[in-house]
Amino acid sequence: MKKDLLPRPSLSHRTGRWFSRNLIRIYAVLAFIYLFIPVAYTFAFSFNDAGKSNLVWKGFTLDNWKNPCGAPQVCTAVANSLEIGIISTVLATILGTMIAFAIGRHKFRGRKTTNLLIFLPMATPEVVLGASLLAMFLNLRINPGFWTIVIAHVMFCISFVVVTVKARIASLDPKLEQAAMDLYANERETFRYVTLPLVMPGIAGAALLAFSLSFDDFIITNFNSGIVSTFPKFVYVSAARGIPAQANVIGSAMFFIALIIVIVGQVVSRQRKRG
């Protein structure tokens, strides 16, 4: 066949074609940049030699990272958030997982009402959730504080745990549990050796979700915390004056820790499949 039978497309033509085929990929890159700008900004300013007011760039320093508790109250706030997060996560995960199993594996009356009850908190604006809970506490003459925060967090996390675990249970082949019973495992053993291990990734994911919702929550917490400080509250309050760079350090650190956890989780689950 003769070479050059067809004229080669011009450079501009080929560039044009490349663009239209990859337009969406280019767009995705831009979108991701948009998503990460504030994160990058936060990270960058965690190195700012700014003293109390982290509004303008003053110079690069590692001091903030070396001494994250340097600014007063940052670490108290973080500690509170962590404590509240862990307690709320444990409670919400247990309660939510139990509900998920009931819904996913049992017959009972009032299924529609239950589903509605689970759905409503997710559909209610946080202002309403926070305000109503505060109203109730005030009516009962309970002062908002640490435990009211925990109560609130567990309340709004349960629904998310239920949805997450329920989805995992739904994707579990019921034949596996039948096979277990066929192979001499009674109900308890089936749950322990087959159901639970297979649902565990869903439970772990739900716990992670609950923790991040709790740690990052502001609105509901703000209504129900009284004078107790949490990390988001601290940031909000100091936003006007200028957030200390240490807060940026904490934020960036959380980002990296969470990223590592997710990546590790990915690797582990792939390992499980390979064996």
Partner: protein, 375 residues
């Protein structure tokens, strides 16, 4: 374990008047059958006929609404599945994805409290020739391998009865044929009662000693493959197993061991032993491979026209139209004496009376034919 009959003399599996209702819907209707100890038994039928439900009741995964199930002397009707000495090979294998092959097979042994499992597990793996896969996970195995592991996982527990729920459905043709032979070999080697549920009549006929054909919750006929094929007792069985020509006819006489029937001006002979009804209205049946393309003989139809022809290697399959527009199927073996007929040719068919059977004429002539074989 290999080469050694492991079934205890535990007795036959007996289902006595078992029914299963889901609300108003009857899945299994007053079913009674006996599966002899150590035999390879097949439950054959189209999807929805109740065969899987029956199997699950034997396994204990469903409870009968009525009736009893016994193995030998023991009544297992209401026993939980984990108390029965019955194991199942599930349709999609149901291997535990989070356990290794070794642990999958050891599962039943461990639950029964057996500590030393290695020998048993390895013996089972060797029986299915997959010992080298012991440390892998199910996700890494091919369909055929998973299927054999599922069998090993069931057999290692030496059940009294092994249930197979359409285990070969997901395999491709060649692999399926291989596995059919494999399973038959394993069954003969260890001597456990196998109950195999399938909608594939070829599979049932290849593997089973006894077949029960099920339709809408009831057993239509039970017997060996030959019995069911050559002497079907209902139109459903006739049409479901292989292909069949059925002609509606009227009984003219029953004497001297023969029944003479007439249809559309033709008369045919059927041995009385092969007529399964007292009624005067019968369906006359003859299998396609029994039809000869000649015009001599007791049972014959002249002046048919060839409407289609397919060459399938071992034989040529003809579709013929009788003078009264009834479609007949005829297979001609691909050897000497081959008539090389073409569409439009005129031909006569004839066959031996001994190859004819007579069924009750009130049945649906198309029962069991062209059923969607997909689950």
């Amino acid at each position: 374990m290999a080469g050694q009959k492991v079934a205890l003399d535990t007795g036959d599996l007996v289902l006595n008047r078992v029914s299963k209702y889901y609300g108003d819907f009857c899945a299994v209707d007053d079913l009674s059958l006996t599966v002899p100890d150590g035999s390879f038994f097949a439950l054959l039928g189209p999807s929805g006929c109740g065969k899987t439900t029956t199997l699950r009741m034997i396994a204990g995964l469903e409870e009968p609404t009525q009736g009893t199930i016994n193995i030998g002397e023991t009544d297992i009707t209401t026993q939980k599945p984990y108390r029965r000495n019955v194991n199942t090979v599930f349709q999609n294998y149901a291997l535990f994805p989070h356990l290794t092959i070794f642990e999958n097979i050891a599962f039943g042994l461990r639950r029964r409290g057996i500590k030393e499992v290695k020998n048993e597990v390895m013996a089972a793996l060797e029986l299915v020739e997959l010992a080298h896969l012991a440390e892998r996970k199910p996700g890494q195995l091919s369909g055929g391998q998973q299927q054999r592991i599922a069998v090993a996982r069931a057999i290692v527990n030496r059940p009294e009865v092994l249930l197979l729920d359409e285990p070969l459905g997901a395999l491709d043709l060649k692999l399926r044929r291989q596995m059919q032979i494999e399973l038959k070999r394993i069954q003969m080697e260890i001597g456990i009662t196998f109950i195999h549920v399938t909608h594939d009549q070829e599979e049932a006929m290849t593997m089973a000693d006894t077949i029960a054909v099920m339709n809408q919750g009831k057993i239509e006929q039970m017997g060996s493959a030959t019995e069911l094929y050559e002497a079907p007792k209902t139109a459903f069985v006739a049409n479901f197993l292989g292909q069949c020509n059925l002609i509606k006819a009227k009984v003219q006489s029953r004497t001297g061991g023969k029944a003479v029937v007439s249809a559309k001006g033709h008369t045919f002979e059927i041995p009385l032993s092969r007529v399964s009804t007292e009624s005067d209205s019968v369906l006359l049946g003859v299998r396609p491979e029994k039809l000869r393309l000649d015009d001599s003989g007791t049972n014959s139809i002249k002046d048919c026209i060839v409407t289609d022809r397919s060459f399938v290697g071992t034989s040529t399959q003809y579709l013929l139209k009788t003078p009264w527009d009834l479609e007949l199927i005829a297979f001609e073996q691909n050897d000497e004496g081959l008539h090389d007929l073409h569409v439009g040719d005129k031909v006569s068919v004839e066959w031996d009376p001994e190859h004819t059977f007579g069924l009750d004429g009130s049945q649906d002539i198309n029962a069991g034919a062209d059923l969607d074989e997909e689950e």
